[in-house]
Amino acid sequence: MWAVKRMASTSASSAALTFELVAKCSTTRARASVMTLPHGPVNLPMFMPVATQASLKGLTPEQLEGTGCRLCLNNTYHLGLKPGQEVLDAVGGAHKLQGWNHNILTDSGGFQMVSLLKLATVTEEGVRFLSPHDGTPMLLTPEHSISLQNSIGSDIIMQLDDVLVTTSPDKVRMREAMERSVRWLDRCIAAHKNPDSQNLFCIIQGGLDLDMRRECCKEMVARDTPGIAIGGLSGGEAKDDFCRVVGACNQLLPELKPRYVMGIGYPEDLVVSVALGADMFDCVWPTRTARFGNAITKDGMLNLKREKYAADFGPIEDGCGCPCCRPIDEEGSMGITRAFVHHNAAKETVAAHLLTMHNVWYQLNLMREAREAIIADRFPAFVREFFGRLYPDGQGYPSWAVDALQGVGIDLNS
């Protein structure tokens, strides 16, 4: 179904996605590429901010575009509740609903069901749960999820998978979940109505068991979806385990398809995952932490609610190019100071909007810089610089990062 046309050895196309490999790091497994989707091209590696309910927490789509974002997430679960499938159909999909003319990725909705509704059980048919208010038994199937994502019209849609916390010790259940996810992928592919305009990505499961992950990769890759996600991570597993899984999967995945590691967003995680060969990431953390007064910077997190910033008239981050931080006398800069954010943090929504803008910019820019470094083949130096800024005394590098990077040829301590 997903006939891959080999145009050249560095690019591959399916009906609604073209993947072009631009450069590969000569030391690590990092890669730079361009992924062209129905709503335009995006540069990989990239971070995708999460506009859960078709709105990026107070930013206008115009402001989101101003941060450089060309692909953001919407959550199927939330859009299914509000505004609902009927409205999405009537309005003509999520792009029209939110006035966003760039790309959208949606998850399957299964993750929220399983993690939030304690009474949910997963059966072969789908996720069974009791309606939270009236207790009526209900069923969410792969077909429901795909039908809803078809109504949303997102450029990338995700299969419904059987998600289990990776730390679950139950091997039998883990295997069942992995195998069921493969079977559900087949049902998703069969139910998908718009393969010419929406890209269905599979999700690799298998917990922390590398053999199971490898087996899943093989099965999923055989189904030839336009892109591949690594799921089930960022659920509290040890970072070493996380890196091993990402590393092992990436080695088995086809080179000319985008690889999406779901649910990660800490800057260190992004940089290490890129080194391990991943291309796409999403997380609510940068925008959520903004609303609690936290700014992400190259030197770590700043909680601007702290008194020490009350009379700090520097930009949120020196040298940052976001609309808040650009030098004050530059055109297009707002001249936002830490003192001003402190003044309004948790008091006026505007402070949250400004930090959201800054944090999204930071994440996108981090991936932009990583990409430039890969293309110039100086990615290892970039990684060392990045960790050097976060841990200025050269001490206390997290051991998981040291080990993972060591595995792909970067010695942080050199």
């Binding site: 078709a54 709105s55 206008t60 609903l97 009791l130 207790g135 006398d329 707002m334």
Partner: protein
């Protein structure tokens, strides 16, 4: 944008009366307020009200791009709180450095776009009434940390330090709503205001870059005649005052009859007219510039303004339907409406988005709802004032105002939309008031613990956290089934 103005900046602010329509007993007039480097403001017009230095929900880049507003009103009480652990600290705003693009500290601290004028007063509009009275040398103000004494000296220093484009010296006010002060109290209000203006002018550096708008307290003309005479006979000839800040524009007829030489001064109303009908009446009395607290209130209630000075022609010749001033976007009929918020509106919210999106944002409690409504509602008001100016130019103001009064409902509808959190420093509840918003996301029955997964307490009502368990109305099985999210399992056993 020349630097010439820098030599005597206070003089640089000019107000020109372009046309005064002294017909039909109306004192309405056209004017132009100009300050080098700032947007020129054609009057009648309005200044946007800020909360803690920001137009609520609108970031400074959007103020620049998407609001027509030429001026913003700021209250000093929003900047001078003393946090409990830091009682002695000097308010940080006084230490604001300036830059070439932001040469004035108030502008710089609040990141106000350079094209926009700043107006500084002591208190928010409307101000929360203080249980403590004012004294001979201080007023009681309400900060985010509670009531606080602001001495006249500190206020004068604040004006000198912060260099707003326009400052309103302290007036002795009560802020207890429409209660008429006793004549004894009224007299003291006038005397203190007079005295405080004197010390303000003495304290302000002679080269101050700030234009002073003399406050006119809301007391009858005969009670403050002495103060008003001093303005007209002593201070105006010395060019000490550049405008009038009126707490009650109804004094204007008496004032202008008695002191014709005050006529060239711009008149800023701080009276909080509750509807556009009141605006039209105050313009007829001679008000040039307004501050309009109802704007922020209607946006927070999920209302989009829909009025215009010239109402749309009736749908059928026989219909004499009274039009609403605003539409409630939280009502279900907006769910799939791809139309702008009001017909022919060209604001960002109406050109880039549609009613269905705002409806969705309101029902999902997303903060962007209020941002877009603020942009729209400010745009409707800007257009309303532009139409008023055009009618003054064509001598049709009086008849248009009469038509407007006949065509529109007297009050705004009650918005049913969920509001942003009522912030303590701008909102005081009186005893027995119910909750402003209904409690969000009550616990899932049968689920023992009340705390919800992944949500920090107290973040819900602020619209900060995305709800995970659907609410009562949208979370029923029938609703979920209907919305295509999942299906009801008929025949399945309920535990």
């Amino acid at each position: 944008m020349t630097d010439e103005a820098e030599t005597n900046p206070a003089e640089a602010m000019t107000f020109e009366v372009l046309r005064s329509a002294l017909i039909d007993g109306s004192a309405a007039r056209l004017g132009r307020l100009a300050l080098a480097g700032r947007k020129t403001i054609d009057t009648p017009n309005f200044f946007a009200l800020t909360s803690r230095g920001v137009v609520p929900h609108i970031t400074p880049d959007n103020v620049d791009k998407h609001l027509d507003t030429g001026g913003v009103y700021m209250a000093l009480e929003d900047f001078i709180e003393r946090p409990q652990q830091h009682q002695k600290r000097q308010p940080p705003i006084y230490d604001t450095p300036t830059t070439k693009r932001h040469p004035r500290p108030l502008h710089s601290f609040t990141a106000t776009p350079p094209s926009v004028m700043t107006i500084l007063g002591a208190r928010r509009i409307p101000a929360v009434a203080s249980p403590m009275g004012n004294t001979n040398t201080s007023v009681s103000v309400f900060t985010s940390q509670g009531f606080q004494v602001l001495t006249t000296k500190e206020y004068h220093q604040a004006v000198a330090t912060l260099q707003p484009d326009i400052a309103i010296p302290l007036a002795d006010l009560s802020h207890h709503g429409p209660v008429t002060p006793t004549s004894k109290r009224a007299l003291r209000m006038a005397e203190r205001t007079d005295e405080w203006l004197g010390s303000y002018l003495a304290d302000l550096p002679s080269l101050s870059k700030t234009a002073t708008y003399a406050p006119i307290p809301p007391v009858p003309f005969p009670i403050q005649w002495e103060y008003l005479s001093r303005l007209s006979e002593d201070l105006l000839p010395l060019k000490k005052i550049a405008g009038l800040a009126l707490y009650d524009p109804d004094i204007l007829p008496d004032l202008l009859t008695a002191h014709q030489n005050l006529t060239p001064l711009p008149r800023l109303s701080l009276s909080a007219p509750p509807t556009p009908h009141h605006i039209l009446r105050h313009i007829a009395l001679g008000t040039d510039i307004f501050t309009l607290p109802f704007l922020n209130t209607v946006s927070d209630s999920g209302l989009a303004l829909t009025f215009s000075l010239t109402p749309p022609p009736p749908t059928s010749p026989s219909s004499s339907q009274i039009l609403p001033l605003a539409t409630d976007l939280s009502t279900p009929q907006n769910a799939t409406s791809l139309t702008p918020l009001s017909k022919n509106c060209t604001c960002y919210a109406c050109t880039a988005h549609h009613a269905a999106y705002i409806h969705h944002l309101l029902s999902a409690r997303e903060m962007l709802a209020w941002t877009l409504l603020q942009m729209h509602n400010h745009a409707v008001l800007s257009q309303f004032f532009a139409d008023i100016r055009a009618s003054l130019l064509s001598n049709t103001f009086t008849e248009k105002a009469a038509l407007f009064a006949r065509s529109y409902e007297p009050e705004f509808p009650a918005g049913m939309g969920e509001r942003p959190r009522a912030r303590g420093y701008q909102y005081k509840s009186a005893g027995g008031d119910g909750k402003r918003n209904r409690p969000a996301w009550e616990k899932f029955e049968g689920d023992g613990d009340k705390k919800e997964v992944g949500v920090e307490p107290g973040t819900r009502s602020e619209g900060l956290e995305t709800p995970l368990v659907p609410d009562e109305v949208d979370g029923t099985a029938a609703a979920l089934d209907h919305m295509g999210f999942a299906e009801i399992e008929h025949g399945a056993e309920q535990k």
